[in-house]
């Protein structure tokens, strides 16, 4: 019986992989469902096991199945790993994703699984923390805080109970690495959490997964059940979110696990000192924890040898939006934004010029192609008024209206604000209103026109220039006055849109964009 591999990843399924897998089974093939390799242009991808190794075909439709099985289908890709998109990657964290049956413990062990946990458990906790420190690993979830330092704080804290919490509430548009890893290689995350538990002396862990990722929830729950004996005495549990973006903020996430509204907590105390249920808690992103098995198995030096400046190791970059080769691309830090968008991403899918890319999700800055020389590096992006965040890159072509995108950022903040602090809760609503007035060409038509005492008040904004001054003030207040990144970072997309694309706000040069951009 011919053995074939078909992705069961949510993105592949959304493109029709289930129907292809069913057709293959009807044709008599033995179908193994894997995660996705991560190049969605070739999904649904079918890989056929042959004497020469796996031969890929993609994209494939159900009616193509006979031609795939006899090897005659024109969408023959050969060895998928040899395609330029894959051959140029450095896959430390995603080495198994797309290759293995995600829930097969045999597959996991056969592909190097558990080597990191075994190595860790042969060491005293302090030495495990030292290895993580030496690797240079920084939080892959956004701010880039050194993971080893966080673990050290929890290890050093005296408590009767400690927790490991995985923040799998990756809600940033343009990011999907967490989802792909949990669906395609769940044991990697479980192993990373078990290593963390040994390192700090934790007995219980939670994976908090957003409800928008139903496939990931199912796979993780089953994987935890199957791996329970392997990670004991450490015990793990999945917690399902309930559609609140702010729960990606670590302290809001902790409140949510505790069964409360997901509102942010003021820091200090840090969660490492007083976190879940008031106990010392390691809270890391999926990609941070999933990087740990490699580090323990292969050594801190091998990980730290890759990277750029103080950004060590690899980053699973996600190419999203209007991009030809959309997908997951894991590479050492230091690759430039332009290389990622144009060389690897292949430019826009629409074939029109790239106008803007947003890096780091809805709270990340928009960059024009003139800034494509920026190296992918935490410090370089911060210096350019942006952030790497989850390393999602969303590409827009020249039909984008950047004032609309700035308005959307404010609107998103208003919808998702937890309401605890005023700059975020009120500021975002006022921000939408202010951008509306800018887009309308100033205060004309606004209801305040009917209130002469306000219109004529000293300092009342009237022109577009005045409104933009108001918007900048508002962003300043949100940036420095908000309790967490939701209100604090929303100014990044808003101000970067304003600074790099002023013509869309009715300022400076008139854009040469085509008429449909006004749509």
């Amino acid at each position: 019986m011919t053995r074939v591999f078909v992705s069961g990843d949510m993105a592949s399924v959304a493109l029709g992989a289930d129907a292809v897998a069913a057709a293959l089974a009807r044709a008599g093939a033995e179908v193994v469902r894997t995660g996705s390799r991560g190049l969605f242009r070739i999904e649904p991808l079918v890989e056929v096991q042959t004497a020469e190794g796996r031969i890929g075909f993609g994209p494939v439709a159900p009616e193509d199945v006979a031609a795939v099985l006899d090897g005659s289908h024109p969408n023959r890709l050969g060895d998928v790993a040899a395609l330029p998109f894959f051959a140029s990657q450095q896959r430390f964290t995603f080495s198994r994703c797309g290759l293995v049956d995600p829930l097969s413990l045999d597959d996991y062990a056969a592909h190097g699984g558990w080597a990191g946990l075994d190595a860790a458990r042969a060491l005293p906790p302090q030495q495990v923390v030292d290895v993580v420190k030496a690797s240079g690993l920084r939080g892959r979830g956004g701010a880039g805080f050194p993971t080893g330092i966080k673990w050290q704080t929890v290890l050093s804290a005296a408590a009767d109970e400690k927790f490991i919490v995985c923040n799998a509430d990756e809600g940033d548009s343009g990011t999907f690495a967490d989802r792909m890893l949990m669906e395609g290689d769940p044991y990697c995350l479980i192993e990373g959490m078990a290593i963390a538990a040994h390192a700090v002396g934790a007995t219980h862990g939670y994976v908090y997964i957003r409800s928008e990722y139903p496939f990931a929830i199912r796979v993780m729950e089953e994987a935890i059940r199957r791996a329970a004996h392997r990670i004991a005495p450490f015990a793990l549990e999945v917690r399902e979110g309930a559609g609140a973006y702010v729960c990606g903020e670590e302290t809001a996430l902790l409140d949510s696990i505790e069964g409360k509204r997901g509102q942010v907590r003021a820091k200090p105390p840090l969660p490492a000192v007083s976190g879940l249920f008031g106990k010392p808690t390691v809270i890391n992103n999926v990609l941070s924890l999933a990087a740990v098995p490699f580090i323990l198995a292969e050594g801190a030096g091998r990980y730290a040898a890759v990277g750029f400046g103080r950004s060590r190791g690899t980053m699973p970059v996600q190419l999203a939006g209007n991009v030809r080769n959309g997908g997951l691309y894991e590479i050492g830090f230091g690759v430039t934004l332009g290389e990622l968008v144009n060389d690897i991403g292949g430019g826009t899918e629409s074939g029109r010029p790239v106008r803007a890319v947003q890096v780091g999700g809805p709270l990340g800055a928009y960059f024009p192609p003139s800034m494509f020389h920026l190296p992918f590096d935490y410090e370089a992006f911060a210096a350019a008024g942006g952030l790497i965040g989850h390393a999602g890159i969303t590409v827009f072509d020249d039909t984008v209206d950047m004032a609309r995108m700035a308005r959307f950022a404010m609107e998103f903040c208003a919808v998702e604000s937890c309401g605890k602090c005023t700059p975020c809760r009120i500021g975002s609503t006022r921000g939408v209103e202010t951008i509306d007035r800018i887009m309308a060409g100033g205060r004309g038509g606004d209801r305040l026109e009917a209130m002469p005492q306000i219109r004529n008040a000293k300092g009342a904004a009237k022109t577009v220039g005045d409104e933009i001054g108001l918007l900048r003030d508002l962003c300043d207040t949100m940036k420095y006055g908000s309790l967490c990144a939701l209100g604090g970072f929303t100014p990044y997309p808003v101000l970067s849109a304003l600074d790099h694309f002023p013509e869309d706000f009715g300022l400076g040069a008139v854009s040469s964009r085509p008429a449909e951009a006004a749509e």
């Binding site: 949510m10 993105a11 399924v13 959304a14 493109l15 969605f40 999904e43 990756e170 809600g171 940033d172 548009s173 343009g174 990011t175 999907f176 967490d178 989802r179 792909m180 409800s211 928008e212 990722y213 139903p214 549990e237 917690r239 399902e240 979110g241 309930a242 559609g243 609140a244 973006y245 949510s256 696990i257 505790e258 069964g259 409360k260 509204r261 997901g262 249920f277 996600q318 190419l319 999203a320 939006g321 209007n322 991009v323 959309g326 997908g327 899918e349 947003q358 809805p362 999602g392 969303t394 590409v395 827009f396 072509d397 984008v400 995108m405 959307f408 998103f412 998702e416 937890c418 749509e519």
Partner: protein
């Protein structure tokens, strides 16, 4: 009362299943919503009593999270992504087309109860948008034909 079983008994049964889990409120609300489709206001005092919380705390949580419904949804639920990556791929036009074709505004349930149309912020399918979840099934690269297929599927 929802269906045959009084809501209090549904809550008690689901709470018993979660016995021993700390911070059990969200799992309990999810379980109730999975079983009866929404979290009715009548459930709140029962949940409060089962978990030793105040009614205000339970109400605060139910109303805070976007996922929990206080009223039943339509027979079919279409969730359309309106986050940036889908917008970059023409999502706004598909949003308008879907609202028009399904005959219901974003965030509303059609008068005949057939379809609920909701916004969702990111399914993690950001390279193949515009995306939707149709009764829990993910659909990518939605174009005008895709909107027609979704409409046919939900009987609109």
């Amino acid at each position: 009362m929802i269906g045959q079983e009084p809501i209090g008994e549904v809550v008690t049964r689901q709470a018993a299943r979660l016995d021993g889990r700390r911070g059990a409120l969200l799992p309990l609300l999810h379980a109730i919503q999975r079983e009866i489709g929404h979290v009715p206001d009548e459930a709140v005092p029962h949940v409060a009593s089962a978990l030793n919380l105040s009614r205000a705390e339970v109400h605060g949580v139910v109303s805070f999270y976007h996922d929990f419904r206080r009223r039943p949804a339509g027979a079919h639920v279409v969730k359309l992504c309106r986050a940036e990556a889908c917008q970059a791929r023409g999502g706004a036009a598909i949003e308008r087309a879907a609202a028009h074709r399904l005959g219901v505004a974003m965030g509303a349930t059609r008068a005949d109860g057939q379809v609920t149309l909701e916004a969702i912020y990111c399914l993690g399918l950001c390279a193949t948008g515009p995306n939707a979840l149709v009764d829990g099934r993910p659909v990518s690269r939605i174009d005008v034909d895709g909107v027609e297929r979704i409409a046919a599927e939900v009987g609109a």
